[in-house]
């Protein structure tokens, strides 16, 4: 067992834990944040699997852009709720 193996096991456990939390948390914004950190951990997984192209793309798109789209949707909706 080398250090890389321990890192891999730790990341696997954290991935599953974060996915469970993202599905089961009560508030929507917390779910979105857990999804964002899940993407960020998946980036480390891609680097461990020797896929730097996929890692760069996932870091920019999965962790940055998709999260901002979710947050914008929630922001717009909360404002609509206040008006009504």
């Amino acid at each position: 067992m080398t250090l890389i193996n321990f890192v891999e096991i730790g990341i696997s456990v954290l991935l599953i834990l974060l996915a469970f939390l993202a599905i089961n948390s009560k508030t929507l914004i917390k779910s979105v944040m857990f999804l964002s950190s899940l993407s960020m951990l998946a980036v480390i997984g891609f680097v461990l699997l020797k896929a730097p192209d996929v890692a760069v793309t996932e870091a920019v798109i999965g962790s940055g852009l998709v999260t901002s789209l979710f947050v914008f949707t929630l922001l717009a909706v909360r404002k609509v709720g206040k008006k009504a």
Partner: protein, 111 residues
Amino acid sequence: MLQYAAIVLIMLGLYGLLTQRNIIKIIISLNIMEIGLNLFIVSVGYVEGGIAPILTSVNNSSSLVFVDPLPQALVLTAIVIGVGTTALGLALAKNIYQKYGTFEIDEMGEE
């Protein structure tokens, strides 16, 4: 090890898709399933001790042992299309909220 984590992620995404009644949660479940699937496809091409599929001045010959580049190219495509579907789903969710005032599927249609 990461391969089994990816399979569990696919299962968790399907479970969320079947049990959640909130539109945003359903889109989040789809995203989790997508991440799991991408990890699984990339892990299929992983070679123990292989190097990343880029020729550099250090790894300068095609006779070295590289990781399989084809699954990575396919996943690159899949991630970008995933953004497109997520954006379209969120736009639909925003329109649904403007009509019904809620994200919960069970509370719709009672106006």
